[in-house]
Symmetry: none
Subunit: 208 residues, 4 copies
DNA sequence: GATGAATGAGGGTTCATTCAT
DNA sequence: TATGAATGAACCCTCATTCAT
């Protein structure tokens, strides 16, 4: 291998390990929060030694912030390819479906995020500006829908909260769902059924 | 003071202190989870020394479980005086209103609870049977509403989750609401407005 | 009851409680030593509260010393009524028998004492002078037996150690005896058999 | 140094430190028992910080058990090279001599062991099976000696207890021996004299 | 790049004892 | 006499992090 190929290989290895570490960190932070998570536990989840973990991160808090940044990015990506200008129904059907499937596939992501927000979002805040801009932009579009008579008058920001609340609830409360329905602990939730119920509630709830 | 009066006084003092401790514990557990909470921090919030705290509790975990038990009881009390037999609209208006006001008045309660559920509810589970019975009982009533044509056919358990998701969201995500709306950090949320929006969404969303 | 009768009654009660406390203390000190014993554990064994215990003792160390003093006295009493002047055989038969029976009836006594001696006897030493005088006195008598040809020449102090070693061993090592013999945990040891074996070994071992 | 040499060096250092820790632990456990011993005291005896100690052990109890395991092994080694088939006298002379010399050289070993047995041997028991087998095997040989008329009929297990009692007594009660003989605190005991007296007592005590 | 050693701070909890009534 | 409250010191152990190789 040429010297540059070696270097690329090393970089790839490093990237792979960093990804493993991030996954481990998100799972551990989701379970125990920043304070309650231990770097030992993260190292265990990643299958490496604590010393090695600390060689690759600069600090626990930094890893935490990095993970938050990653989550914010992933959620922004869920918007890609969707077009609010097609009107509320097709957009909401698609978006709610994606959000619920993602929530059920990666529940730790929503859990870590909600944990941070519950705590007052001290470390998330500096990363949150783009989200605010997007939220306020979406509110403009929703106001347009209302003005056009496509949906009834609703608070355009609260509507977005309601969609998030309903879609993320199933990631946060998986065990509650199973428990209340007398399902076994590992039973997968039915994403399609849930998406249908949530979409139905929202679409009818905002009908003019 | 007579001996029995002294004893009653002591008991009252003790009860008061225990209540202070519980409040402090819920706030701290809400912020950092069982693992991340420190008894030192709880003692600080309660305004007593760590040693004194440990004189009044048997262990951190025990205090945590006791707080959960308290929360489950409080939420069950929110049902008192409400009558599902009067039909969906009056019941839901009243229940959603209460729930949201309580969530905004005592956000740490919902936060601690959600934290426990996110973690897999390891310590909540033994206290959860009555909640399951209530949920399944409520599902029967909702099925009755559907059969009577009072609401459209919906999954009767998921409907309950949706109500919880919407009402508790504002307790968990207070800072997000303020941030997205460019409000100052301490601005109180408008419980009436939120209750109206949520109630409107739900009632129209389940209209036959 | 007259005033003095009341006072006597109170004194009797107190004496009884002090005895209960002493028994509890000996058992706990035997099990865990001065350092390892907790006043809580002693109070539990005595069936009283820790506060009450501390009302009746001045300190843990003081209670420990008091218990040692008691033990030294009890062992001195085992000599009462025995007469070394009758010659080695009748005396040793009687003394060894008593010592072994006492050891098996009150093993905690020997255990606490041995624990203190193992530690270097820091607190026993001030109480030990009478024992030394007795030991040296007995050595004189044994030297007389040797001079009279009643037993073979042996070190007169070491002989006493050997007797103590053999008789106390069964108090200290009760569980070992049971374990090595495959006996159940609660099986009582056969004091007569043991006394016979020990007496036989000693008497033949010192025969001229 | 080559990488493997470095590794060997590290391993050697580690082994050496572990040995230092074990010695310190045995001394401290001998003095105060499992409960009464503090890891701080063990660290002090070993000349390291408490944190460093905890880096090398998994827990105080684990260190205790490891020390017990070590002791059981050491005592089993005292048998090596001795042959019971040569008859009682040469074997007992050699074994008693070794045992007493070892007891006087390493009194903490016998003290820690006796402390554990006094307490009921809760942690020793799982390590004790080989000792029981050895004891019962030795009993068979002793029965052979009796059958061959080499010694008088004695209880073959109790005889072993008597040997242990006499040999270990001097380790447990060193201070008592010095005190009763008016020796200074640091005076070494005369192992040869003690071995002679004990051996003489035993051999004559079991003569046919 | 990788790893064993090391550490000061802090974790929850128990301790013997004193105080107040 | 008796008891609940209170406390500062100490308990075992884990923490995130740095050092040395």
């Amino acid at each position: 291998m040429s010297r540059s190929a070696v270097r690329a290989d090393l970089a790839a290895r490093r990237e792979e390990l960093m990804e493993t570490i991030r996954q481990a960190a998100i799972a551990e932070f989701a379970a125990n929060g920043l304070h309650g998570a231990s770097t030992q536990a993260i190292a265990d989840r990643a299958g490496i030694s604590k010393t090695k973990l600390h060689y690759y991160i600069s600090s626990k808090e930094d890893l935490y912030v990095e993970a938050l940044r990653h989550i914010v990015g992933v959620w922004a990506d869920l918007f890609h390819g969707l077009d609010m200008s097609e009107g509320p129904e097709p957009f909401l059907r698609a978006y709610i479906g994606r959000k619920i499937r993602h929530a059920l596939d990666h529940p730790e992501v929503a859990r870590m995020f909600t944990g941070e927000v519950m705590r007052g979002a001290p470390l998330l805040r500096p990363l949150w500006d783009a989200s605010r801009a997007a939220t306020q932009g979406a509110a403009r579009v929703i106001e347009g829908w209302i003005a056009a008579g496509l949906i009834r008058p609703v608070d355009p920001v609260l509507l977005q909260f309601h969609i998030w609340a309903l879609t993320q609830h199933y990631a946060l409360h998986q065990v509650e769902v199973r428990f209340m329905l007398d399902w076994p602990d590992a039973a997968p939730l039915d994403a399609e059924h849930i998406a249908d119920e949530v979409t139905g509630l929202i679409l009818r709830g905002i009908r003019p």
